[in-house]
Every structure is written in C-alpha cells, then in structure tokens.
Symmetry: C2
Subunit: 364 residues, 2 copies
Amino acid sequence: MGQSITFHKADQLKKKPDAGQLGFGKYFTDYMFEMDYTLEKGWHDPKIVPYGPISLDPAATIFHYGQEVFEGLKAYRAEDGRILLFRPNKNMERMNQSCARLNIPKIDEKFVVKAIKKLVAVEQDWIPNQPGQSLYIRPFIIGTDAALGVHPSSMYKLLIILSPVGSYFGNSMSPVKIYVEDEYVRAVKGGVGFAKTSGNYAASLKAQTKSEELGFDQVLWLDGVEHKYIEEVGSMNIFFKIDDEVWTPALNGSILPGVTRNSVIALLKHWGITVKEKRISVKKLFKKAEKQQLKEVFGTGTAAVISPVGFLKWEDHVIKVANGETGKLSKKLYDTLTGIQTGKQKDELGWTEEVKVEKEKVTE
Amino acid sequence: MGQSITFHKADQLKKKPDAGQLGFGKYFTDYMFEMDYTLEKGWHDPKIVPYGPISLDPAATIFHYGQEVFEGLKAYRAEDGRILLFRPNKNMERMNQSCARLNIPKIDEKFVVKAIKKLVAVEQDWIPNQPGQSLYIRPFIIGTDAALGVHPSSMYKLLIILSPVGSYFGNSMSPVKIYVEDEYVRAVKGGVGFAKTSGNYAASLKAQTKSEELGFDQVLWLDGVEHKYIEEVGSMNIFFKIDDEVWTPALNGSILPGVTRNSVIALLKHWGITVKEKRISVKKLFKKAEKQQLKEVFGTGTAAVISPVGFLKWEDHVIKVANGETGKLSKKLYDTLTGIQTGKQKDELGWTEEVKVEKEKVTE
Ligand SMILES: Cc1ncc(COP(=O)(O)O)c(C=O)c1O
Ligand SMILES: Cc1ncc(COP(=O)(O)O)c(C=O)c1O
C-alpha cells in the first residue's frame, strides 16, 4: 500500500468560523480524505478531495447492519508554529482492533497516519490556536455493499474529516456532574464495548438524555452482568484518586481502551504515583467517599483531555468530590498533557509527531 | 400527518431479474419511498421517487453514532392475483419500540403502512409469484445531522426499499445446522437487543462468520450474563418441540420480538398445543435431547418463515434433531403460514391485509 495520495482541488474555499464560536464538531474544513476497499483491489485509490456529501446506495450495509468503526484524535498548533499530532499510531492500532471485531478489513496503520498528516498539512490554516482549541480528526470506515441479508460487506469506504474545535464541555476545567446509570447498559464482555463502533454510541443515547433531563452532564456506566462494577463515562475513561493512589477500571473487554487513559497511567507512573487498574465496585467507591478517602475523580478522553468530576449520584447516594472544584492532580494532568500536545512542555515520553508542511505538501 | 404522498416518475424502468435467480436482497425495484424529519416540521414531505443513491454529509450521525432502526416484511402475490401483506401493523409497532430505545422520533404507524401499500401498488409488477418468493419490504430510519459529538440527531430520513426475493436459505425447508456460540454475545438486558437496530447485527458478524468457517449455517445466541440461557438465532427466533409441548425463550429485553414468533405461538395455541415461553438453559435442552424428548427444533423469521434445525452443536455436545429431517410440526407451521400469507389458506386470525392497486394508485 505504498500508494500515492492524489489531490483534487476545490473550486472555492469556505469562510473560516469565528475562533470564539467553534464548539465541538460543528464546522468542517475544505477537504477530506477518501479511500475505497474492494475484495479484488484491497484498499485503493487514496485521495484528498473537496469536503462534500457522499452518495450511497440505500441498500448499503452501513444503513442496515451498521458495519462501522471510527477514531478521534487532534492536531495542535504549537506556539512556535509547529503542527503536532498526539500518538496517532495508538489511534490507528485501536482502529485495527475495532476492524477485527467488526469484520472490517484491516488498514495499513502507517499509511493512514501518513494520510492524516497530508490532510492536516493541506488544511493547516484551519488549525485554531487559542488555549483548548485544536483540529479534531475523525477517520471512519463504513461498509458500502448494496445488498440486504446479514453479511460482512465486500466493499468499504474510509474517510477522514476535520473539524476545528474548542473544548468539548464548554469550559473544560469546570467540574462535571455524573449520574451512575443502573438500568441501561452500554456493553458486556463478548460484545463490542472495546471497539470504537457506532452501535455503542447509539445504545448510549437513551441513558445520556435521561441523565441530562435529571440535570447531569454525563453517565457513568456499570458492567452489564452484575450492574455493580464501574466501567467508563459516555466518551471518557474514568479515574479515582483514593488517598495517594489512583484507581481506574481495568480493561476487561467491555471498556474502550482510551489513548488518554493509557497516557495518564504512563504519566502518573512516571511521576511515581501508584496506579491500580482493577475492578472497582460502585459500592466500594461510595464507601471510600464516605470515609473521606476519595480525593479526586476525573474523566479522560481526546475531546475533553481531562474532565474533573465534581458530583456523583448513584441511586440515593450523592458525593460531592473535592468540594466541587478541580483537584490538584486533575489540573496537573491537564496542564501536562495539553502542554505536551501543544509543544509547550518537553515531550519526555515521545508522544508527539510533527506534521511537516513542506514534506507533506501534496502536488495538485 | 394526513399528508399526501407525492410521486416522481422515473425516466426509465429496470429490466426485471430472472425469477429463478432472485436470491435474497440482491435486486431492488424502480422506486423507493422517502420522508424527512426535522425538529420544526416533524415527519414531512413523503414521496415515492426513483430508486437511487442517497447523498449525505460525511459528518451525518448514521456514520458515527449509528442512530438507526429498520424493519422487514413481505408482500405476497396470491394465486387469484391479490397482493397481500402479513401483519404490517406489527412491524410498525415494533419499529416505534425500536425508535423509542434509539432516541428516534416516533412514526405515525398507520401512515407508514399506507406508504408501504402505495409503494407496493406502484411496484406490483415486481412481486414474484413462485412458491417461496415474495417482495421483501425494508423500511429504515437514519439520523442525518451533520455534527460530531455524541448526541441524538435532530434530522432523520425514513426510506422504504423493495427487493424481490426467493427463499432466504436457498431451499428453505432443508434443515440448517446451528452452532451454540459461547464466547461472543449479541445483547444483554438493559441494552438494545429487543430493538431492530443496525448495531446488533454489526456485533453479530464475527460469530456468524466463525460458525460458517466451522461448517454451520447460523449461530444460536446465549444470554450475555451467564452464557447459559438460549436467546435466538442470527435472524430468527427459536422454538423447541419437547414431547408434546413447544418451548421458546421468553421475551426478556434482549431478544427481538419476532412477528413470526408471535404468529407461531398464536397458531399453536389455536391448534390446542401447549406453548411455554420460558427461560431455557442450553444444558437442559441437551439433556432433553439425550432423553429423546427433543422432537423438533425450528427458527422463525420473516425471511425464512419456518426454518427447521437438523443439527445443533454446543461445546463438545452435538444433537441430530428429527433425524436431520424436517419435522411434522415444522412443516405444518410452514405450510399454514405461507398458505395464509399467499391467500391459499383461510386467514382465520385476520392477519393479512390486501393492497388494493386501484385505490392505492398514485397520481403522477
Ligand atoms: C466510550 C469512550 N470511552 C473512552 C474514550 C476516551 O478515549 P480516548 O482517550 O482515546 O479519546 C472515548 C472517546 O474517545 C469513548 O468514546
Ligand atoms: C435478530 C432477529 N431475531 C428474530 C427475527 C425474526 O423476526 P420476524 O419474525 O419479525 O421477522 C429477526 C428478523 O427479522 C431478527 O433479525
């Protein structure tokens, strides 16, 4: 797959949105990347084309049997002008794990990272540079076979679209309120919970809207078998500071293995803090809180980076965490991660990759 | 929603496929039904248009968060020329149950049945009339909001497409071989198993292809919690004749409530046969087989109607059912159901609805 990526120039470029109005995933850039798969040719015809509608047969697999995987990562504009990606190889590795579960043919991870870099280089003027802002990168693959009857598709499309974004939850460092869901279930062992696939999110909407109606920001999922053990938040993994240790649910097949989760664990260990990946019962957590041992709670994810949790509700029990404020460790993790991501802080763990505009420049 | 359905004439009609070559879901008719939803207008602009590609923004919800529901039913051509639908109201009722779980706005069930009838009337020449053949009807709804960030879509599209089909498993009355899946899980209570939504099918592909590699036709799913209790087959509900009784797994929130299942239960009761909807452990089932009490096994679904099971494998245990042949009760159910569906047999339970071509005729 050492294929060259062709470039199709747009007739007209869009007006860029106001830096203050970005929100999350509302605006899309001028170009997108596209690549097709057929049984005969494998992945082929990689190209950067003007952003625009895709046209599919109404019988396409994606509309009926949901064969889909996606990823989410960001490009950051450093103060010195460099463009940085944060561990893009990790996202591509996960994309292939998702593909394997969803019967989607594997991608060449290195080639797709290259495609991301080319696309970002083309769209460099779209990378916002205010604190908390970045260019969100969304690669996704859909099955496009036009045939009914449940079967793995024989044709696929991989697309990459870009969206300049602000922070996911408005002001990302203001603590969120979380509701422990005890009726609806997100995933179960043997299912697709560890994969980044659309069905997981469709299944989560009901609980998410219920939690919002009750005045909460996000849902904390429990395991699907016993409804006792903590899994993750809507689009984040979850961490608890218990006295001087940090606990997070172990990867058990039903939790998404977050890139931010992995990075937070590495950073904490790097700092000499004890991290325990384990099965955590919600009962035990609330006991720890009662005994004043629960010092901080935070979510981790590409969109929000670190999102402190100020308030937790489970059945009739409520916990106010860290007095409803952002804890010290949460703040330090946020500052360090965003520091590394934006090139302000030394990248000791070798996590960033530069997008070289000259080198990545595509010929027209 | 007493809206009138507009009709857009196609420039050219397709050549119809050979009656002997239909297969399942490979050919589509000349027209499709389409209707849009926005928060302001609700469901609006119902129309019958030439079958053709739909064009969507690459950020559309369906490509990322999988908000989708679908249905499947059939139109039959009776010997006397009448066109019959089988319990279309049941499918629309289930579609709304699926919508409720997936945060999709409800449809007007009666109106969509009317739309189905109009579309089938327009496409009446596409209804095949050989034994086992019919016109498969696939209504589906997709979220079309062009915005990232997990949220329920504010825009939707409902489409109905039609496909002339033969029997689902080739010769539908030759018994199938079934593999009891003990690793992968289809659904769990609190999830979306009872809804007809694409994510359930995406999650099932891995086990389905595994079973095919092992030489089986279909997977029999166990419950997601204990991996002990029988749920359903890939795209069918499952029934067991134990001595003179018939058992089928009770609807428990993770099984699709099949229209054929419901009809089979009603027919059996009508015939004075005891039907038990209960929790059935796979262990108990295999014990019953050992004691020669398991007389017949069959799947039920719109596509295959009744599909006898000749062979079951669970871990190291194998059962040959009814000597690998089609049991008497399975045959009687198949003949009765297809008899009612095609107007050959008296419809004592009032299940069929006629599509009146003159009345449903649309103005151009
Ligand atoms: C369900 C879920 N869990 C966790 C995460 C966090 O993963 P990452 O840190 O790779 O963004 C995400 C979002 O990406 C998610 O959707
Ligand atoms: C998972 C599943 N179970 C059962 C069925 C049978 O339902 P029905 O009889 O309504 O076709 C289907 C197919 O429609 C299905 O997809």
